[in-house]
Every structure is written in structure tokens, then in C-alpha cells.
């Protein structure tokens, strides 16, 4: 399989371009949004929408499309996460459990058990586990965060420190900074960390997975 990249003023325009180029109706295209369009604001350059159209090997442009099969039913997400905890425990020989609770509309997965600290000791493991579980949650249309053994607390603090450092840089050169993809919980950490920062404002641009936090000079500061 290979992907073909198209761009446009918005996702619909990018799809229309793909449809014309590939000779297939828009409804037959299987695609992922690489980048939502963002408006130009406060010195930021407007970004077009970019999509990657997936093309099955052996299916050439213009041939009849084969629709993607309907997703198979999956067990409910908390049950899946609990089962994953058992698998992790079996595979590592450590006492590990994944507890799931819903808090403010978001699933919180807590890594529990006497072996949690040992498993999370490798610094790459917590973000890797969180990345995979977030992809699981996205399929179920839910937001999710992983906590346990101080992982979340350390990560939140690192994000606060980074937000403050970026705000310092914005004050120095007056150029806004756009952060990488953060979920709603993490975006809120940035907004709260900088809500009283002198000469700085924060706002979010884009939609869905393309939503980004921007740290920018406060407009009144520019006018002064």
C-alpha cells in the first residue's frame, strides 16, 4: 500500500483534489487527515489541510473502489484495558494491574500493583503505553490519560516547565510558538500555566487531532 498526499484550503478541498487526480468519487477514498487547516493569526502562516489517501496494492487509480469493511465489534474499552493489564503481568512476571475510572468525561487508566514502578522505570514505557491506549480510546471516541507511579505528575510538570520556557522565548523575539499535538487535558495545563504570564496569551487552533495550542504575545502588548 502507498499513500498519495493532497492538500487544499480545507479537508473537503483536499478530498476534491484527490478525487479529481485519482478518478474516484470522494466517498470511495480512504484517507487520514495529516493536518487540519489553520488560519493565519498573529504572525502565524495559514496552513492548508493535508490528507493522505491510502491506495491498496493492486488497485490502480480509476478502478472500482472496494469499500473498507465495517469495523468488527470490540469488547468495551475498560474490559479491554483490564485484559491488557493481565497480559502485561503475565509477560513481565510483575504484579501489574490497569485500573480504569471515568473522570470529567475522560478515562483515567491507573497503573497499579507492586510491580508498577519497576515496569514504568524505563522512561520510554509510560509514554508508549499511553500512546497505544489513546489510539484504543480514539477508536471508541473517548479521551484517555495514564497515571501511576508518579508518571502523570512528572509529565504534567515537564509540560508546565516547557510552557514557561516557550513563553520566555516568545517574549524575547515576539514570535508565537505552536506546540505539538496535545490532548484536551494537556492543552488545559498549558493554558492554566500561562494564564497569568505577563505579556503572553494562549489559544487553541484547529480541530480534532489537528488542534494545537499557540503561545503568543498578548495583543495589547504588541499595540503598546
Amino acid at each position: 500500500m502507498k499513500d498519495a498526499i493532497f492538500s487544499g484550503e480545507d479537508v473537503a478541498a483536499a478530498l476534491a483534489a484527490a478525487s479529481r487526480a485519482l478518478g474516484q468519487p470522494v466517498g470511495a477514498l480512504r484517507y487520514v487527515v495529516l493536518q487540519e487547516p489553520t488560519p493565519g493569526r498573529l504572525g502565524l502562516t495559514a496552513q492548508p489541510a493535508r490528507i493522505a489517501v491510502m491506495m491498496d496494492a493492486g488497485r490502480s487509480a480509476g478502478s472500482p473502489p472496494s469499500p473498507e469493511p465495517e469495523p468488527e465489534p470490540q469488547p468495551d474499552l475498560p474490559a479491554q484495558i483490564g485484559a491488557l493489564g493481565h497480559r502485561l503481568s503475565e509477560a513481565t512476571g510483575l504484579e501489574i494491574a490497569l485500573g480504569v475510572a471515568e473522570k470529567e468525561g475522560r478515562l483515567e487508566v491507573k497503573i497499579e500493583g507492586a510491580g508498577a514502578s519497576a515496569f514504568l522505570g524505563d522512561e520510554g514505557v509510560p509514554p508508549a503505553l499511553e500512546h497505544v491506549l489513546r489510539r484504543w480510546a480514539e477508536r471508541a471516541g473517548q479521551d484517555l490519560a495514564v497515571t501511576g507511579a508518579g508518571h502523570r505528575e512528572r509529565r504534567d510538570e515537564a509540560l508546565r516547565v516547557r510552557a514557561l520556557q516557550l513563553a520566555d522565548a516568545v517574549r524575547v523575539d515576539g514570535q508565537p510558538r505552536r506546540l505539538e499535538g496535545l490532548n484536551s487535558y494537556e492543552r488545559r495545563i498549558v493554558h492554566v500555566a500561562l494564564q497569568d504570564a505577563p505579556g503572553i496569551e494562549t489559544f487553541s487552533v484547529g480541530e480534532g487531532t489537528g488542534r494545537r495550542v499557540v503561545i503568543a504575545p498578548r495583543v495589547s502588548t504588541i499595540e503598546d
Binding site: M1, D3, R30, V32, L34, M54, D56, A57, E68, P69, E70, P71, E72, Q74, Q80, A83, L84, R87, L88, E90, A91, T92, G93, L94, A118, F119, D122, G124, V125, P127, A128, L129, H131, V132, R135, W136, R139
Partner: protein, 76 residues
Amino acid sequence: MKDLLETLARGLVNEPSCVRVHEHEEDGVVYLDLEVASADRGRVIGRGGRTIDALRTLLRAVGERSGRPCEVEVAE
């Protein structure tokens, strides 16, 4: 480790029944070949390879704990 990778991958895809993991060992290293429906390959690889990198990180960490180094590949 095979069962763990299958569990992780099934939660990522639209067709979990098509997920297979083929395991073989060579020079003390466990190789896990992950097979998914062609339409699900992008889901297990992820944007910029981030999802397959995360799977590799988890399986390597588990492999280290069990004394069996582990490598993961997505089967063609």
C-alpha cells in the same frame, strides 16, 4: 510476548480477527511479525511510525525484563 502484542494490536484495528503474530527466535532474539488486514496497516504503524515505535518500546521493555530481547515488525 506474542499474546501481549496480539492484545495490543487488536485494540488498534478495525478487524481484530485478522490480527496474527508469528514468532520465531534467532540467536536469542525473539522476532514477532505482526500481521493485520491491509486496511489496518496504517493504524498499527501510526502517523510518522509513532504507534509501531510505541509497540516496539513496550515489547522491548517486556523482553528485557524476561531476559528475551524482542523485535517487532509489521508483516508485508
